[in-house]
Symmetry: C2
Subunit: 393 residues, 2 copies
C-alpha cells in the first residue's frame, strides 16, 4: 500500500531530491508513495510541473499572487492554500503518513509542531524547528507517537549510528565539519574575505546561506544545538571536529569504548531515502564511496580563533531560551549584508555577539516569544550595519 | 540474576581478558556472571589461581599429568576433566548460559558444535570453528536458538555495523587489514625476511602465529572465510582493504549507499564486553580513541604481489569443502618451520600452494573428514620442508 506523504519546500534542493528518490523507489518497484500535499514559496512554474506529475490533493504557495498563477495552470481538483496557514494545513493533513519538512527558515517551525501527533513520521531538514523551537518540539514529541528523522547528513549519520545502541549509552557525539573554505586561510585574511571566497565550499554544493554558515561555522554551532534536541544529549557530550574530506558524516562514541560512524558520498539522496524507508534499506545506485580511492581521511581540532562564531552559537544553545532564535535571525540578516558587501566576513561574528549582548532573554519562550525575538534580532542586526557599528567594509 | 558462563581457553590472551572484563563489570555493579566452567591446556598454575578466584563447578585440562597437578592444589568440589572430551563437556554444560570459545586451533571446533543448541550465546574467538567447520557450524546454528557473536575486532565491528541494517541489505563488507610489518618493505626483501621482522606487528600485540599470519595476510584470508560464514554473504561481497592505522576495525557498505564502520583502540576488552552484554552497552574505562590525535586514517588496496598467500586462502574458501582445513593446518606447520628458520618467509605461501595442489578434495566433509585433512595437511607441509622442496633457507 502506498504511504501518504506531504512535502513542504518541494521546489527547493531537498524537496526536489526527495521527489527524485520517490520516483526512483517507484521505478525500481521497491516502494510507492502517495503524494497528498506539496508546499512551496514562489517557484510556481516548478510547482505546476510537480502537480502535473504527482497529482497531490492540496498544495500551498506563498500568497495570493502565486495562488492565482498556479490556479490558472492546473486542473480544478487540486486545492490551493497560501502562506503559513497553508503550510500548517498541509503538515496536519496526513493521518499516519509522512511529512517532509524541507522548508527554509522560521516558517518551518509551525508545520513541524503541527505534524507532531498528526503524522507518523517527520523527515526534518528544517533546522529552525530544533534550533529555535527545540523545547517546544521536544515537549510535543514526547507525548506523541510521531518519530522525527533528521535528513541532513550529520544528524542522519548519528541517527544511523544510534541504531547500534541507546541514547543513554552515548559518551560523546563527534559532529564532523569540513572546515569550509577558510580551513587553511591565514587567520588575518579571514576577516576581510570576499563573498566569492566564502561561497567556495570544498565538498558540498549548497545554498548561499548554508555555505556562508560553513565558512563561519555558525552552521556547525546550529547543528550542535539540533543534536542536543534530537538525541536528548547534554552539550558537554557534543563535540565538533574538523574533517576536511567530509567522508565520515559523524561519529558516536559509546560509553563502552566502541565508536560508530557513517561514511559516504556527499549525496543527500542517501539520507533522504534512508529516512523515507527506515528501518528498511532499499537498493539504489546513488553515489558510492571507494575507500581506497579516498586514500586518507584527516581530522583536526576546531580552532576557536578561526571560527569565533562557533562558540557564540553553542553558548547561545547552552543558555537556551530565546537566544538561539536571536542568533539564527541575526545570522541570516548578517549574511545578506555580507553578500551585499555591506560588512566584512568577520562582521558576522561581531554582529552576532552584539545582538546577543543586547537581547532581552526569555527563559521559557512561547512560539510568539520566539517569533518576536526573530523579528527583533533581524532588525537589530540590520541596525548594527546601518549605524555602521559593524559596517566596516 | 548472574548468568552462567563457561570460558574455554581461559588461560590464553582472550580468556584472561574475558575474565578481567567479567571482574570489571562486577566491580562496577553493572553485571554479574557465574563462572561455571573453565577450560585450558597446560597452564596449570594460572588455572589454579582462576579456580580459587572464580570457583567454577568444572574445569578441563589437556591430559592426566595436568589433571594431577591441578587436583593436588584445589579443593575436592571442583570436577576436573581432560582433553577434547573435557572441553566438549564444558561447552555443553550451560543450559541458557554463555560459552566463550577462546581456544586456539582445530580443538575449538567440536566445543563450538557442542555449544550450539545447549547455550544461548557463543562468544567466538576460535577462528577454526568457522574457517574449517563453517558448513557444519552454519547448519547446526540455523536450527537452534543459539546466537554466535564474534569477538575478534574485525568481525565484531561488522556485527555492530549490522545492527543498523540486515545481512540481505549488505552490498559489500570491507575488512580492514593493517598491512602488517611488510606493508612498506621492498617486494624483493619480503621473501627472505627474518622471523624478527615478521613478528614486528605495528598495532596489535598478539601471539606469534597470528602475527606471522598478519605479515603474510593468511590471517586476512581466513577472516574473509569467517565473515562469509558468520554473515551469510557471498565471497564476491567481501573485500579486504589495507588500513595501516587499524582504527576503523571494519566497514559495512549497505545497498542504499550508507557505509557504517566501527572505530576504536586496539583493545580486545571492548569487543569482549560488547559480546558479553549485547545488546546493552555498559560503561567501562577501556581505551578511548581521540580522533583528533589520530590526525589521519589511510587506505590502500591489498597488493597481490606483496601478499600472495591472501588470494590462495580466499580461493580455498571459495572452493570450500576440506580446502580451508588444509590451508589452516599447513599454515600452522609452515609458520613453525619459518620461526625455526627452516624455510624462508616466502616459503609459507609456496608451501600452502603445494599442499592445496596435492590435496584430495572432499566436497561435503564430515567432522572426521576435516580432522583427517588437518592431519594430512600438517604432515604434507612438514614433508615439503623435510624433503627440501621449500626448504630454501
Amino acid at each position: 500500500m502506498a504511504k501518504d506523504i506531504v512535502i513542504l519546500g518541494s521546489t527547493g534542493s531537498i524537496g526536489t531530491q526527495t521527489l527524485e528518490v520517490i520516483k526512483d523507489l517507484e521505478a525500481s518497484n521497491q516502494e510507492k508513495f502517495n503524494i497528498v500535499g506539496l508546499g512551496c514559496g514562489t517557484s510556481t512554474d516548478l510547482l505546476v510541473r510537480q502537480i502535473n506529475r504527482f497529482k497531490p490533493d492540496m498544495v500551498s504557495v506563498k500568497g495570493e499572487p502565486e495562488r492565482k498563477i498556479v490556479s490558472r495552470k492546473i486542473s480544478k481538483d487540486v486545492e490551493i492554500r497560501t502562506g503559513s496557514e497553508g503550510l500548517k494545513t498541509l503538515a496536519g493533513m496526513t493521518n499516519t503518513g509522512t511529512v517532509v519538512n524541507a522548508l527554509v527558515g522560521f516558517v518551518g517551525l509551525e508545520p513541524t509542531l503541527e505534524a507532531i501527533g498528526s503524522s507518523s513520521r517527520i523527515l526534518l531538514a528544517n533546522k529552525e524547528s530544533l534550533v529555535i523551537g527545540g523545547p517546544l518540539v521536544d515537549r510535543k514529541l514526547k507525548n506523541s507517537k510521531t518519530s522525527l528523522i533528521p535528513i541532513d547528513s550529520e544528524h542522519n549519520a548519528i541517527f544511523q549510528a544510534l541504531e547500534t545502541g541507546k541514547e543513554k549509552e552515548v559518551e560523546r557525539l563527534l559532529i564532523t565539519a569540513s572546515g569550509g573554505p577558510f580551513l587553511s586561510t591565514p587567520l588575518d585574511r579571514i576577516d576581510s574575505a570576499s563573498p566569492e571566497e566564502a561561497l567556495d565550499h570544498p565538498n558540498w554544493d549548497m545554498g548561499s546561506r548554508i555555505t556562508c554558515d560553513s565558512a563561519s561555522m555558525v552552521n556547525k554551532g546550529l547543528e550542535v544545538i539540533e543534536a542536543h534536541w534530537l538525541f536528548d544529549l547534554s552539550y558537554e557530550k557534543i563535540t565538533a571536529v574538523v574533517h576536511p574530506q567530509s567522508v565520515i558524516h559523524s561519529l558516536v562514541q559509546f560509553h563502552d569504548g566502541s565508536m560508530i560512524g557513517e561514511l559516504g558520498e556527499p549525496d543527500m539522496k542517501v539520507p533522504i531515502q534512508y529516512a523515507l524507508t527506515y528501518p528498511r534499506r532499499l537498493e539504489n545506485d546513488y553515489g558510492r564511496t571507494d575507500i581506497v580511492d579516498l586514500a586518507k581521511l584527516e581530522f583536526k581540532e576546531l580552532e576557536e580563533s578561526r571560527y569565533p562564531a562557533f562558540n557564540l552559537v553553542v553558548e547561545a544553545g547552552k543558555s537556551g531560551g530565546n537566544r538561539p532564535a536571536a542568533v539564527n535571525g541575526a545570522d541570516e540578516e548578517l549574511i545578506d549584508e555580507f553578500l551585499a558587501e555591506n560588512i566584512r566576513f568577520g562582521g558576522i561574528a561581531r554582529g552576532l555577539d552584539l545582538v546577543l549582548e543586547d537581547l532581552e532573554p526569555v527563559e521559557n519562550p512561547s512560539f510568539e516569544d520566539l517569533k518576536s525575538t526573530d523579528v527583533w534580532a533581524r532588525k537589530k542586526a540590520r541596525s548594527l550595519v546601518e549605524e555602521k557599528i559593524i559596517g566596516d567594509r
